[in-house]
């Protein structure tokens, strides 16, 4: 896909996302919308090696979502990528659904790990990367998505140390740097900066990207695959709620879903690319 097609794909995923969150009546809207471009780049920008027809394919890359509460964006991306029908997205958070509020590997076997307790995913990704690189000399890549807020957890830094010590070059962490967490701005709740310096001191290669610029995301992901003897961190600067004006930047939208009226408003905006074009339905 070229950049324009990727942007269109991301927009489609956002529409599915808004609809599924509205149907679920709960869920994490802001963070999910903010990471749609990164998910799109990973799955449609030829970054992650995967085959939805062969989810158990041994050569596949592994994707670990550590900030698992934004899984609606991941589900919507995977459905669009062909793992399961898009209409199943409407079952999100409902009794008996494969799409749990936080991902459950046993229910949805296309994902690599269950998650939901912040701070654990990077360690899991380290275990996978260690196994591929140090134990089996295999080429599988491990992509770990994390959030800025979860770096309050000490375990994140334990994992960062471990990856640095073992030179896990086959691990790329993409951090959602959206500057917000539930109680407010990250730098007010618990200052994280200077994140780049901190990770570099732990032995990582660090890149900053605009988390809504497809070319920058894809370029950084490809660069991370060329870094020798160091794990990579891509700090993706994102706008929480990206694409839906009344959700953007508002941390009150961290953990809630749009109502029917808000959903319509959001879909109108996404369909018209913020009023730039006529709606598809018009």
């Amino acid at each position: 896909m070229d950049t324009k097609e990727l942007e269109k794909q991301a927009n489609n995923i956002r529409k599915d996302l808004v609809e599924m969150l509205t149907e679920a009546k709960s869920g994490h809207s802001a963070g999910s919308l903010g990471m749609v471009d990164v998910f799109t780049a990973l799955y449609f920008g030829d970054i992650v090696k995967y085959d939805p027809k062969k989810p158990g394919w041994k050569e596949r890359d592994r994707v670990v979502l550590s900030n698992a509460h934004i899984c609606p964006a991941w589900y919507a991306t995977m459905a669009n990528a062909g793992y399961f029908p898009v209409k199943e997205l409407k079952t999100l958070r409902k009794l008996g659904s494969r799409l749990q509020g936080h991902p459950d590997r046993l229910k949805l076997p296309y994902i690599e790990t269950s998650g939901g307790s912040l701070g654990q995913g990077l360690s899991i990704a380290c275990g996978m990367a260690y196994s591929f690189f140090k134990l089996d000399c295999k080429k599988n890549w491990v992509w770990c998505l994390t959030s800025d807020g979860e770096h309050d957890e000490g375990q994140m830094w334990e994992a960062a140390m471990f990856a640095g010590k073992n030179k896990l070059f086959n691990l790329t962490q993409i951090m959602d740097r959206n500057n917000i967490q539930i109680d407010g701005y990250t730098e007010d709740v618990m200052p994280l900066e200077p994140l780049k310096d901190k990770y570099e001191a732990f032995g990582w290669h660090v890149m900053d990207v605009d988390g809504h610029n497809m070319e920058e995301i894809i370029d950084a992901c490809n660069k991370s695959k060329a870094i020798f003897e160091k794990p990579s961190l891509i700090i993706a600067h994102t706008i929480p709620g990206k694409g839906v004006d009344f959700i953007e930047w508002k941390y009150s939208w961290h953990g809630k879903a749009p109502c029917a009226e808000e959903c319509k408003k959001a879909l109108d905006e996404l369909r018209t690319l913020g009023g730039k074009i006529k709606s598809e339905s018009e």
Binding site: E112, T113, S117, S123, Y130, K134, G154, E158
Partner: protein, 323 residues
């Protein structure tokens, strides 16, 4: 039942820490399966993982003093096909890293084996912070978990081998101090199957860990007073062998449990849960009674916390009076 010779003469039995059995089994597993990986958190020697590390240095992973990280790294390793043994003291694992156990291992049904060494007040002088007394309770309450508390070094070896050969998360509990090796290579061991070590009809003692030996001593003493005591080695806390426990209650009419762990949530609770649903009979629980451990010589502590054969004897007499 095949048990050691001179079973009731403690001084004639070999004394070994249960964790030695773990160290031996890890080496054995390492030889038979290249997917076995061992993780250490700066306690490699005292968990006996150094034996594995020296044999298979490439498959030993040092994570430093970071038990939470260790648990999730182990989960990651297992999710790509390895069989990791994450080893440290029971107060740290499953103590300190319980949420990691809950979400990354148990919820994931990850094929991780975790081991808590230095469990029980018998740890001795290090005191309360290093005497794991709650590990069984917090491990067994998690779905998908198997929980094992073997009674001596030989049984620990068997339990470790069985854990490494089965699929799914397993917690293994060890003691620190040398304790009598009273089972033999030929003593049966199967996960989920409690073993009757001594037949009896008046009362049953159901115990786990090195306390099982104390139970045998108590039974032997009581036989001199004409009391016939059944002794059951309940090495598998979960899944619990309901059948054997119900049978004991039906046939002997009174139960005493024994463990070097809080009775609250421990084996005492497990047995009470089974009996209250199926065959309620008078029951006494020997174990740590809602208090923290403390410093002292292991033997002194066993007396202080009322975990000796003598204490089990008293519990038996008491429970028989309640029949």
């Amino acid at each position: 039942m095949i048990l050691a010779k001179n079973l009731y003469q403690k001084e004639k039995l070999e004394q070994k820490p249960t964790r030695d059995g773990y160290g031996l089994a890890l080496v054995e597993l390492g030889k038979e399966n290249k997917d076995i990986v061992v993780l250490g958190a700066d306690l490699t020697g005292s968990t006996r993982c150094d034996w594995f590390r020296d044999k298979f240095p490439d498959r030993f992973i040092q994570v430093g003093i970071a038990e939470q990280n260790m648990m999730c790294i182990a989960a990651g390793l297992s999710l790509v096909g390895k069989i990791p043994f994450a080893s440290t003291y029971s107060v740290f694992c499953p103590g300190r890293n319980w949420d990691q156990l809950r979400v990354s291992v148990a919820y994931n049904k990850a094929n991780v084996k975790l081991t808590g060494a230095h469990a029980g007040v018998s740890v001795g002088a290090d005191g309360a912070t290093h005497q794991g007394l709650e590990d069984i309770a917090i491990a067994r309450c998690l779905p998908n978990m198997t929980v094992l508390a073997p009674c001596d070094a030989i049984e620990t070896q068997k339990a470790t081998l069985a854990a490494g050969r089965m699929k799914g998360p397993v917690y293994l509990r060890f003691a620190r101090e040398p304790t009598p090796v009273f089972t033999t290579k030929r003593t049966p061991f199967r996960i989920g199957q409690a073993e009757v070590l001594r037949k009896g009809k008046d009362v049953s003692i159901i115990a786990c860990g090195p306390i099982v030996y104390e139970a045998l001593l108590a039974a032997e003493e009581l036989s001199k007073d004409g009391i016939s005591v059944r002794v059951i080695n309940n090495h598998t806390i979960k899944p619990i062998d309901e059948e054997e426990i119900i049978k004991a209650a039906e046939q002997t009419g009174a139960i005493v449990t024994g463990e070097d762990h809080q009775v609250m949530g421990g084996l005492g609770s497990v047995v009470a849960e089974v009996l209250s649903k199926n065959e309620p009979v008078p029951m006494e629980m020997v174990g740590v009674q809602n208090r923290f451990g403390e410093s002292g010589e292991p033997e002194e502590l066993m007396k202080e916390f009322k975990l000796t054969a003598e204490d089990i004897k008293k519990a038996v007499i008491k429970v028989i009076e309640r029949k």
